[in-house]
Amino acid sequence: MKDRNFWFVIASITVVFLVYWLLGHPYFVTERFVMLFSIVTLSATLLYYIRAAERGEEFYLRPIPALKAVEEAVGRSTEMGRPILYVPGIQDMDQVETVAGVVVLGHVAKMTARYETSLNVPVSRSIVMKAARESCREAYMVEGRPDMFNEDMVHYLTDDQFAYAAGVNGIMLREKPAACMYMGKFYAESLILAETGNSIGAIQIAGTASQAQIPFFVTACDYTLIGEEFFAASAYLSQKPELIGGVKGQDMIKLVVISVIVISAIIMTVYESTGIGFNIIKYLTIR
């Protein structure tokens, strides 16, 4: 009950809705009530934890091996005196995954600034190039090494999928980076990139939510951030309260979903074997 404003708003919405309901709820699609209820509860859960984190409450996040490996990889590159290659996917900024990739890039850039390792970021969209440059510049400023930043570390290759993949391959073979990171939205080129990275013996760390490409990354890379892990990565690395709160909120929603599955299964089992209870499936079906 720490967040008074939050509870106040929730209570007022409930009261207003109850009044509306008692007035005969004109224009309301009654059979979708379950859906409205879930949307409101789930959004409220999310919002509650984001606000809690912003107020300064701290949440624990379990370690993710692939994210630890990022720092190791940067360290190894420094030892070997070779650059780090970072590929933020082949899609534009309108994809959530690209945004997450650029955010992670900022953190990698901080590490390379700290370790004084060179960073190479080929991109395939001009908007992504602008965003990635800003994010790197910012990182080098924060680390107090603006002298090490140069704009060409983020450079545009081409929009075309396969031509881009070929361009990145060329960079890999010429510069032999010690670590390759693929974080963003990938399509068929994932396999071409990971194969070449593998053949030059680089440490490879991938992160994507593209379901069809994950298997190729898992088999060809050393570490892979799968789906939601990748989205959580920016919260881990940035330690920004609102992002961590969001992860916590989503976790809570997941718990709700799991409990609903378990409870519904129990109700169904009891209902079908003994006839006691009700058919919950009916309530979960929304036309």
Binding site: M93, D94, L191, T219, G246, I253
Partner: protein, 274 residues
């Protein structure tokens, strides 16, 4: 600032709330907007985005030609291709009005547009994708490694699906698979105990057990089912696979839901470059 920042955020919140809560409102205008117009508007915008993309591309290629950058000769080909497609799309129909009017020409037989589709666009888009068959082959050779237990599980389930789903999987006897498993276990036992004798005894006993089983039952190709590739494949595909796919599906659903809510509430504003 107002036009560039506040208005877009307002548009997102407004349209987002209408399309989200419109599902619960039983009013003809709202229903029509949510059910039809909202998507149609999106499609109209998407078409404009395609035009924008095409103009951008041509701008880039023309610049290349004008400044004679490396590879500018190829850019001429690109521009030529574009102009050809535009001519087929807007200027030369290739058939009479009675066969296909303007507008129907993009989906009718015998037009120049259809010719371009059949003999230029189709083969090239299909070939671009089929190139990947070669890359899959070379990656399977050089990159798909059994680095840990997870990758092993992935590759084994992938291989079972790959072989079990095609006709050749059906002619591989379950007894052959059993022998194969015995041999693989033999290798595992060997690496565990580092003793040739134990390995030999293990493999010998295993092979004779399988052989005895085979002789007794008369070597039926698809029995026992748990060693017959098409049956294992079907099981993996229908049960463990669905369980995993469903977990991912729910995860993606929740992720998209959470992100959408953040957009609508204006918490996330990355789309306008913040």
């Amino acid at each position: 600032m107002f036009w560039k920042r506040q208005i877009p955020i307002f548009i997102v919140t407004l349209i987002g709330s209408i399309t989200l809560f419109g599902w619960f409102i039983d009013q003809p205008n709202v229903k029509e907007f949510v059910g039809d117009d909202a998507t149609q508007w999106f499609d109209v915008l998407a078409s404009f985005a395609i035009i924008l993309g095409a103009l951008n591309l041509i701008k880039l290629q023309l610049q290349k030609v004008l400044y004679q950058k490396p590879g500018w000769q190829y850019s001429i080909i690109a521009v030529f291709g574009f102009i050809f497609a535009i001519i087929a799309g807007f200027f030369v129909k290739g058939v009479d009005d009675s066969v296909a009017q303007w507008g129907a020409h993009v989906t009718s037989d015998g037009t120049l547009f259809k010719w371009m589709f059949d003999y230029v666009f189709s083969p090239m888009s299909a070939t671009m994708f089929s190139l990947l068959a070669f890359f899959v082959a070379s990656a399977s050779y050089r990159a798909f490694r059994i680095r840990n237990f997870e990758a092993t599980l992935l590759l084994v389930s992938g291989i079972i699906i790959m072989v079990g789903r095609v006709p050749i999987g059906g002619i591989i006897s379950s007894w052959f698979i059993m022998y194969l498993i015995i041999l693989c276990l033999g290798i595992y036992v060997n690496s565990l105990k580092q003793d040739m004798k134990i390995t030999f005894v293990f493999v010998a006993v295993g092979i004779s057990l399988v052989t005895i089983g085979g002789v007794i039952t008369g070597w039926p190709i698809d029995q026992p089912g748990i060693f017959y590739l098409p049956s294992i494949q079907e099981w993996i595909y229908f049960y463990p696979n669905v369980a995993g796919a469903r977990a991912i599906m729910i995860g993606i659903g929740l992720g998209i839901f959470a992100t959408s809510i953040r957009y609508i509430l204006g918490i996330e504003r990355s789309y306008i470059g913040e």
